[in-house]
């Protein structure tokens, strides 16, 4: 049994305070990271602040007793996806500041901030008006069971009830890999055709 599960099984004043402390630290990391992503001009800095946000979300997952997802969050998001982002940034050589020059849309910034606020307010309104719980029992298994690990409960669910979606995600990943290879491959050159660099070299002679 994980420590987090034990703490939930025996609620104490101590565990109560610890939950709040972890929540507040995670919330601070999430908000700081998100603000960094949307405000910094250098894409590399944005990617590094994205890691901070993802780490904060992993902390909140631990606080909500989703141990397995917290670990996967770190490994897949911070370990694979952000690395992929950084790899593409370095590969393309765009790790310089966004051009501040002429704005294609006048007043893009205030409109964007206003629409972002609208989306936040709409989510809040939706959470107030929606009937989220009907009182019916869930058809999936419980998220907490005495003496059973979170990984075991999640694994049992994925390999039984969600087996078909699980198989379909594997197909999706194969399709994504093939698509990435096709997209990133250099197009075939026909015989005698020169690349742009070769043309420039010839003309500069």
């Amino acid at each position: 049994m994980s420590p987090a599960l034990l703490a939930a099984a025996t609620p104490t004043v101590h565990g109560h305070a610890a939950g709040w402390i972890v929540f507040l630290i995670g919330a601070g990391l999430i908000l700081a990271g998100a603000l960094g992503v949307i405000m910094l001009r250098n894409p590399v800095h944005c990617a590094l602040f994205l890691v901070i946000t993802l780490f904060g979300v992993a902390l909140e997952f631990i606080n909500e007793l989703a141990d397995f997802l917290a670990v996967v969050q770190i490994i897949v998001y911070a370990g694979a996806i952000v690395i992929l982002f950084l790899f593409v940034i370095m590969f393309l050589g765009v790790d310089k500041k966004e051009t501040v020059g002429k704005e294609p849309f006048r007043g893009q910034k205030p409109v964007a901030i206003a629409l972002g606020l609208v989306s936040f307010i709409l989510v809040m309104v939706l959470s107030q008006v929606g009937n989220w719980t009907t009182g019916a029992h869930g058809t999936s298994g419980p998220a907490r069971h005495h003496g059973v690990e979170n990984v075991q409960l999640l694994g049992q669910e994925i390999y039984t009830r969600y087996l078909l979606p699980f198989e379909m995600t594997s197909a999706l990943l194969v399709i994504a890999i093939v698509a990435a290879v096709v997209l990133a491959r250099r197009p075939h050159r026909s015989a005698g055709e020169m690349t742009k660099a070769e043309q420039e070299e010839v003309t500069s002679r």
Binding site: G15, L35, I38, T53, F85, V94, L117, N150, A176
Partner: protein, 101 residues
Amino acid sequence: MSVPSAWYLVLAAVLFGLGSTGLLLRRNVLVMFMCIELMLNAVNLTFVTFSRTLNDIGGQAAVFFVLVVAAAEVVVGLGIIVAIFRRRSGATADDVHILKG
């Protein structure tokens, strides 16, 4: 249950709002992609919160699938970005307003 689920839901809503703001605000395609990841994470946080509140593992299974789909989406999206950058050296979304080679 230490922290009430409403706090998590508000935090997720704020994160979603920040992500959507960034998506509208930024013109660098890569940073726009990162903002989509922020919004996905906000939704994941909501899923896990309801999974805890309703004591139902289905929410966590949904997050698992969202992770896989996000990975596939990033792979294809970055592939498209690399293909665009190979044709033209523009770093902003406005440079591809004409879908022509």
